[in-house]
Structure formats: C-alpha cells, structure tokens
C-alpha cells in the first residue's frame, strides 16, 4: 500500500515538473513576447515583490472583504427564507417561481445595470456576490428542510417539543447536510463572481481588479502571480473552513452519508 502511494506521489510530482518545464520552454522559445508570457522566475520574483511591499495583501483583503460581505448577506437572507419556504407552502409558492426565473441569469450579467444604479465601487461588487451566492443557499436550505424525516418531527412533537425546540433541535440539525452543501456552493460562486465583478466594477484594489489593470500595461507576471494567490485562497477556504465545518457538525452528528445524496 505504501509503495503504491509513493508511486502515485512520484508520478504526480513528475507531471507537475513536466508541466512547469513545458511552460518555461514555451515562455523562452519566444513564441509569445516575454511581456505576455514571462518565465517562472519572473513570476516568482513579482509574487515575492508584491508580497513584500504589502500590495498583494491589500488586494487580497479588499477582495475578501467584498466576498465575505456579499456572502454573509446572502446567508443572512437565503437561510431564513429557505427555511420559511420549506415550512410554509405559501412562502414556497411565492418565492420558488421567482427564484427559478432569476437563478439562471448569471450574476455577472447584472454588472452594467448595477453600475448604472449604484455607481462604480464596492456596492456593485458586494451586490453581485450577494446575487451569485443567494440562490444556492436558498435552494439547498429549502431542500434540506423538506428532506427532514417527518417521523423525527412527529416523534419530537409527541415528546412535547414546542415550535422553537422543534426548529433548533430537529429541523436545523436535520437540514444541516444540505445547508452546509449550500454554504460551500455559495462560497464557490461568490469567489468566481467577486473576481468578475472587480474586473468590471472595482476602482483601485482587489485581486480581480489588479489582473484586469495589469492587462493595460501588459504585465502578465502580475496577472499570473495574482491568479496564483486567487487559486490558493479559494483552495484553502474550501478545504480548511468548509472541511472543518463539516467535521464539526455533520460528521460529528453522523449525518455525512446524507450529504452525498
């Protein structure tokens, strides 16, 4: 088994090294101008330069601020609304048609409209993130609440649970695998949306903005360095934040199997 793992790791490392070597070879062959396709050392240098002077950090902070604001808003509205839809037929009848009409519109399509309404800047980006994150949150919560086993509700009712207890002790834990899947999906969507929104609507800071801005000056090294940072932040948020959230809740409650369904 360990020999197997070693072989897998060796092959994985080989392919990454080969991919890097191919990139470096293409970059040096002069097929593209070196400003358009800088070599790996140049990218590394730019990355360290931007990390050292703190500008990369500022860009990341602005992007994270926007993403968390929009995502937080989407959770604050999508979660209660999803629960309402799951519990009350009237709410479902009203919200579901609207949600199914608005959901297929990519959030980024609203950027020009929002820019006209709210002007360039943070408001537009936050709202675009909110729009992108709202629907996965809403629909997953709704599905989750409806998927709570009715027997649990009846059992809790028979044991004398009032509405409040029923909600906190049965419905929320029962729907949690779906809610966590919704949080995860919402965050992924937010992360994509924030980059696009910053490119089109931000004015001086943000990882999306810096990539877009670098295009004007043909700074491909800045672009690639920022893309790397974007990928790393996305990857670690997904793994660390949502991974540990899952372990702390649904795995501990023994509900992980349901989350896959």
């Amino acid at each position: 088994m360990t020999a197997d793992r070693v072989r897998t790791l060796r092959r994985g490392a080989t392919s990454i090294v080969i991919a890097a070597a191919v990139y470096q070879a293409v970059a040096q062959s002069g097929f593209f101008a070196s400003a358009l396709m800088p070599g790996l050392p140049t990218i590394a240098q730019t990355l360290f330069g931007m990390l050292a002077d703190g500008s990369m950090f500022m860009h990341a902070v602005f992007t994270l601020y926007r993403v968390l604001f929009g995502f937080g808003l989407a959770v604050a509205i999508g979660l209660p609304l999803g629960v309402l839809m799951g519990r009350f037929q009237a709410a479902e009848n009203f919200v579901l048609p609207l949600a199914s009409a608005l959901m297929p519109i990519p959030s980024l399509a609203w950027i020009p409209v929002f820019i006209l309404w709210f002007g360039l800047g943070n408001t537009v980006t936050v709202l675009i993130v909110f729009y992108a994150a709202l629907f996965p949150m809403l629909l997953n919560t709704w599905t989750g609440v409806r998927a709570v086993n009715p027997i649990w509700l009846r059992a809790a009712g028979a044991m004398g649970a009032d509405e409040k207890k029923l909600f906190w002790k049965v419905i929320i834990p029962g729907a949690s695998p779906f809610i966590i899947a919704g949080l995860r999906q919402s965050f992924l969507r937010s992360w994509i949306a924030v980059i696009g929104a910053e490119m089109l609507a931000a004015s001086n800071w943000g990882l999306g903005w810096v990539i877009f801005d670098a295009q004007q000056f043909l700074n491909a090294d800045v672009m690639l360095a920022s893309i790397l940072v974007i990928g790393l932040i996305g990857f670690f948020t997904e793994r660390l934040v949502f991974g540990s959230l899952e372990r702390a809740t649904i795995y501990r409650w023994g509900m992980a199997r349901m989350a896959k369904g």
């Binding site: 072989r7 897998t8 092959r11 994985g12 490392a13 392919s15 990454i16 991919a19 358009l36 396709m37 519990r87 037929q89 009848n93 009203f94 919200v95 048609p97 609207l98 199914s100 009409a101 608005l102 959901m103 297929p104 519109i105 990519p106 959030s107 980024l108 399509a109 609203w110 950027i111 020009p112 409209v113 820019i115 006209l116 309404w117 009715p150 509700l153 009846r154 009712g157 992360w191 994509i192 980059i195 696009g196 490119m199 089109l200 990882l207 999306g208 990539i211 877009f212 295009q215 043909l218 491909a220 672009m223 690639l224 920022s226 893309i227 974007i230 990928g231 996305g234 990857f235 997904e238």
Partner: protein
C-alpha cells in the same frame, strides 16, 4: 398542523384536468405579477430617473423593437454559438480525459495533480491573460468557456468510470467482450449518470461566465456585449431586455437540452427513475 400538511396538499390537488393546470399557472404567475406591479409603481413614482429605472412597458417596447430589427436575435445567436462551441470542445476533451483517468491508474496519477491545481482557480481570472495571448474576440472567449467547463466534466467522468461495478466489467470479460465492446456496452452506460451530471455542471459553469467574458473580450456581437455597450448610452431598457433574454436562454438550456437527453438515455436504460 405540520404533519397533516402533505396529506391535505395531496387531497386538495386535483388529479389532473384543466382546472388544476390553470391553478398551477396562476400560482406560478402570481409572484411575477406582484413584483411587476411593485416595479411599475416605483418606476412611475419617479424616485429614480426614468432613464435608469424604466417602466415595464418601456422594457417590453425595447425588447420588441430590438427583436423586430433583428439586433437582439443576432446577439443571442452569437452568444449561443459561442456557448455551444466552447462547451462542445470541453465535452470532448473533458470526457476523454476523465475516462482515461478512470480506466488507467497511470493516467490518473499523472493527470490528477494538474486537474486539482487548475480546478479551484475561477476561470474568469484567466480572462485578461487569454485576451493578451489571443487578442480580443471570439478565440479567447470560446477557449475560456471551454477551459472553465472542462473541469467539472473531467471530475464527473472520472468518478463515473470508477463507479462502474467491477463485477460488470468482469462478467463482460468472462462473456468474451473485447475492449471495444466492454467500453461501448458496459463502461459508457455505467458511467453515464455521472457524465451527464458533469456535462450539466460544465454547461452551467460555461453559461455563468460567458456573459462576463463577452463584456471583457469586446466581441462584435453577443448578449454580454450588448448589455455592456448599452451602459455607455444609459439604455437601461435595452440592458434589462437583454437580461430577460439571458434568463429565457438559461431556463431553456436546462429544460430543453438536459431533461430530454436524460429521459432519452438514463431513464430508457432504467438507471434512473423518471
């Protein structure tokens, strides 16, 4: 009475017939009417300049005008062609890579790290880079859309091939199936539910970024470009008409492309309840 609700609901719902259908249509239309009325009220109250917040009639008028002059269909058609070109590319490449990864341990070991590194980076982040490399226009938009939708297709095809039961493969072998027959009659149908999920996710991803890519890539025609261009002239009615078309295409893709395809293959083969 929470427990009684589902039962009451079933009892109240007529089996079928016109009255039931009409009720469903009305129920679904009601929220739109409410939102439309609120929109109309706000637009007529003049809280915002009419240019920025047009009435529903103005939007409908812009929609009819642009449709009749053929501008809107041209934009929509170009967007659809770009979407399908990118998605077709992604489907071919993604399913091939996914199947190879699922069948060969060696390919899996070599390719998985690259896929795992590429997947978490939002595709839009590459957009300016692709524009630098390939110039503005169709080539970077189609490539970017293809690139973004490839990853879910790879992941799901790979998982699907790995989920094919070993016992099916062995029994096919025992009955003398060669590699081609094995692939055609066992692995492909077995992996299909996953592959379909992957294609669906891939198309959805492609659709979500295509509009933004069109805004960035300065393509001559396309709904994204139309909306973005209308911003310069403060034509909010044109923008909202464009967004309405985008919504219709989005709903149509889901209902007309994937539902029938799913019914045609998976349900017919009995791998999924309809």
């Amino acid at each position: 009475m929470q427990q009684a609700a589902p039962l009451a609901d079933i009892a109240a719902r007529p089996a079928d017939g016109e009255a039931g259908a009409l009720r469903i249509v009305l129920r679904n239309a009601f929220p739109f009417v409410v939102v439309g009325c609120i929109w109309e009220a706000v637009a007529h109250l003049g809280l915002f300049p009419a240019q920025f917040f047009p009435t529903v009639e103005t939007i409908a008028e812009a929609f009819v005008r642009l449709t009749l002059s053929g501008v809107l269909p041209h934009h929509a058609l170009d967007t659809l062609i770009r979407l399908l070109a990118g998605f077709a590319l992604a489907a071919i490449v993604g399913v091939s890579i996914g199947v190879v990864m699922g069948r060969s341990r060696r390919a899996e070991d070599y390719l998985l790290p690259l896929v795992a590194i590429g997947a978490p980076i939002p595709g839009l982040a590459y957009a300016p880079l692709f524009l630098l490399w390939f110039g503005p226009g169709n080539v970077p938009s189609v490539l970017l859309v293809a690139f973004v939708s490839t990853f879910p297709i790879i992941y799901n095809s790979w998982t699907g091939v790995k989920a094919v039961k070993e016992i099916w493969v062995r029994s096919a072998h025992a009955m003398g199936a060669d590699n081609r027959a094995l692939f055609r009659h066992v692995i492909l149908p077995g992996a299909l539910p996953y592959v379909m999920t992957g294609l669906r996710l891939g198309l959805a991803q492609a659709w979500r970024i295509l509009v933004a890519v069109e805004m960035l890539a300065a393509v001559p025609w396309g709904l994204g470009w139309m909306i973005f261009g209308a911003q310069e002239f403060l034509n909010t009615d044109v923008m909202l008409a464009g967004i309405a078309v985008i919504a219709v295409i989005g709903v149509g893709l889901e209902k007309l492309v994937f539902k029938p395809l799913e019914n045609f293959t998976l349900v017919r083969w009995g791998m999924m309840a309809s």
